[in-house]
Symmetry: C2
Subunit: 364 residues, 2 copies
């Protein structure tokens, strides 16, 4: 793991050593008297480099045995108690290859999501069904409009739970029917991804219904549900591609590339939504590029996942986004389509057309 530690030069070695102990044995080194614990459990400070004024970039190697190959325990070793220490930030997560293999990563990956959407190359388009408060039929009407416009993936807003005024199953049925009507008309079948949320038993019931009723993917917010829940969904139970939403994942103490890039991918997200710069959220272009890199780069044996920049993008920025990310991306635009009001179909067609045009340009 790589951390940023704020400390004076005279203190940083002691702080790094304290962190290596805190994240494993939670005891001063003098209390560790067992040779197996000393050798196979205690973290080791690998390197300390200056990282700006009053801070250092510190790499700590934890023996793989500490993690029990368990997603919750890996998270604990990486940043459990450290998250309570304000001078420490988690910058990168680099578990050894055998642990990556055990945890497994995405079941489908970017390529699997492309297969589900029937678009094997070039940028995909995505939008969200909203607002929270509408009933299943009203949301399904929007779903049909987006599907007719040629949007590849249509997901629920992540705030759509099992509300009395919009039950999960009623919404799923209505939106699936809408997708089929549009497919009959256009010859292309969009992916519908319902939002599954709640405690684990409820989530499992919702996913079982989603699979039975032909949803093409699911939307989950791993930080709301728990990261180990993401891991379980990606490896047990019905096999549906997972779009991961970043809700409740903010705060400056875990680098977004480590959380949304490394950990979301490691635990099984096939595509990861995050705020692109210049929208309603404050990420920098550099942060967004780092997230996309962590999701897409070679990290054997894990499949690459698809970056899904979002968060207040205007349709007019589609070409710019394609230039920034290249073709291996899914653009998620919601509010900017809804602003068209009654012209939702035309605006959505415009979104799809501009992404296709930008992709063509990129190919030339």
């Amino acid at each position: 793991m790589v951390y940023r530690i704020e400390a004076a030069t005279s203190e940083v070695e002691a702080r790094a050593e304290a962190l290596a102990l805190e994240q494993t044995v939670e005891l001063p080194r003098g209390c560790v008297r067992d040779p197996f614990v000393e050798r196979e459990i205690v973290g080791r400070v690998e390197s300390i480099e200056p990282d700006g004024e009053g801070a250092f970039r510190v790499a700590i190697d934890y023996p793989a045995a500490t993690t029990a190959s368990d997603p919750a325990q890996l998270l604990n070793v990486a940043f459990g108690n450290a998250s309570l220490q304000e001078h420490v930030t988690l910058l990168d997560v680099q578990p050894p290859a055998p642990l990556r293999e055990t945890l497994g990563g995405p079941r489908f990956g970017a390529a699997g999501l492309r297969t589900a959407a029937g678009r094997l190359e070039g940028p995909l388009t995505c939008t969200a069904l909203k607002p929270l408060g509408l009933g299943p039929q009203a949301l399904a009407a929007r779903c049909e409009t987006f599907a007719r416009a040629g949007v590849d993936v249509i997901k629920d807003d992540h705030g759509l739970a099992d509300h009395p005024f919009c039950r999960f199953e009623a919404r799923l049925l209505a939106c699936r029917a809408a997708i089929e009507r549009a497919a009959d008309a256009t010859g292309r079948r969009a992916v519908y991804a319902p939002s599954v949320t709640g405690s684990p038993d409820r989530v499992r019931r919702q996913i079982d219904r989603a699979a039975a009723l032909g949803a093409g993917a699911i939307l989950v917010a791993p930080m709301l549900l728990g990261l180990p829940v993401l891991h379980q969904l990606a490896h047990d139970g019905p096999a549906l591609p997972i779009l991961a939403h970043p809700a409740f994942g903010g705060g400056p103490r875990v680098a977004p590339s480590a959380l949304f890039g490394r950990l979301f991918r490691l635990y099984g997200a096939d595509a990861v939504i995050y705020p692109h710069w210049g929208g309603r959220f404050g990420y920098s272009a550099r942060t967004c590029a780092a997230i996309a890199t962590a999701l897409r780069e070679t990290w054997k044996p894990l499949r690459p996942a698809l970056p899904v920049p979002a968060g207040g993008m205007d349709v007019e920025r589609a070409a710019e986004l394609v230039r920034f990310y290249g073709g291996e991306v899914m653009l998620l635009i919601g509010g900017s389509l809804y602003e068209a009001g009654d012209a939702l179909l035309e605006r959505s067609r415009g979104f799809v057309a501009s992404v296709r045009a930008a992709a063509e340009e990129g190919i030339e």
Copy 2:
């Protein structure tokens, strides 16, 4: 909900309004055209007060309908997307009484944990089995020592997972036997709380075994497992008091009193561990007092939970801690006992005796 928003005076109203929309409909107000959505879903800014230079304390009321009475969705409404906006901090969570009733809070509460420990009044004592890396018998020997010394609650370190060198069930069996041996010798039975961790199915299996083999409580880290997992554990399945650990719960963007005080209690923790000031973590005395207040104060119909200050407390501070918190507290001291090395029993007896003495003093 109450937030702190960093903004200029000229901007704060617009930012507060944007937040009320972000957390519910995720659309600009102009796009919300349905009267039900406008009336029953969109958040309302209730008050804006200055909170120091360049910041404001903003109360937003969300209609209860937004939450679907679901723990994951309540978290999402409270701080889902807002967590990604660096100018926003969540200060307090105040769901309406009917929603508190639905979510239920602690199944046992402080009183239930006291019953399990056989200590109906005065401060309780608690310690941790460590370090990670020891086998079941070595940890059980420490467990027996602590139980003989009169410690009320003996928990696993939260890093103890289902490791190959220390299987969950082997540890549980060994520690339960140790507790019984000590009980035979002293006439008092300590509570043993094993650490349950992993993805939901694994956690469920571990808790089933813990209940079957007579554990008196369980230790969970809700931020590692997922807050909705805590809610499920507290309301379905075997009924064991829950000690909640704060691992992975840090970062400055949710006030510790809102997270460890309000949310942990609301979702069902019977006792909550958090870093006391002056130890290895940087919380202030004021923050610690606010956490304890949120756990203990009247918040109908929820049972009070027990504050468990921890994180590098020396045995010598026991009296000071009792003066700070009064009798309705459990003091968790780990490392400071282990520093005694071979004198672990004597040091643990000293811990228990000093807490009892401080409590007596407080009563006089």
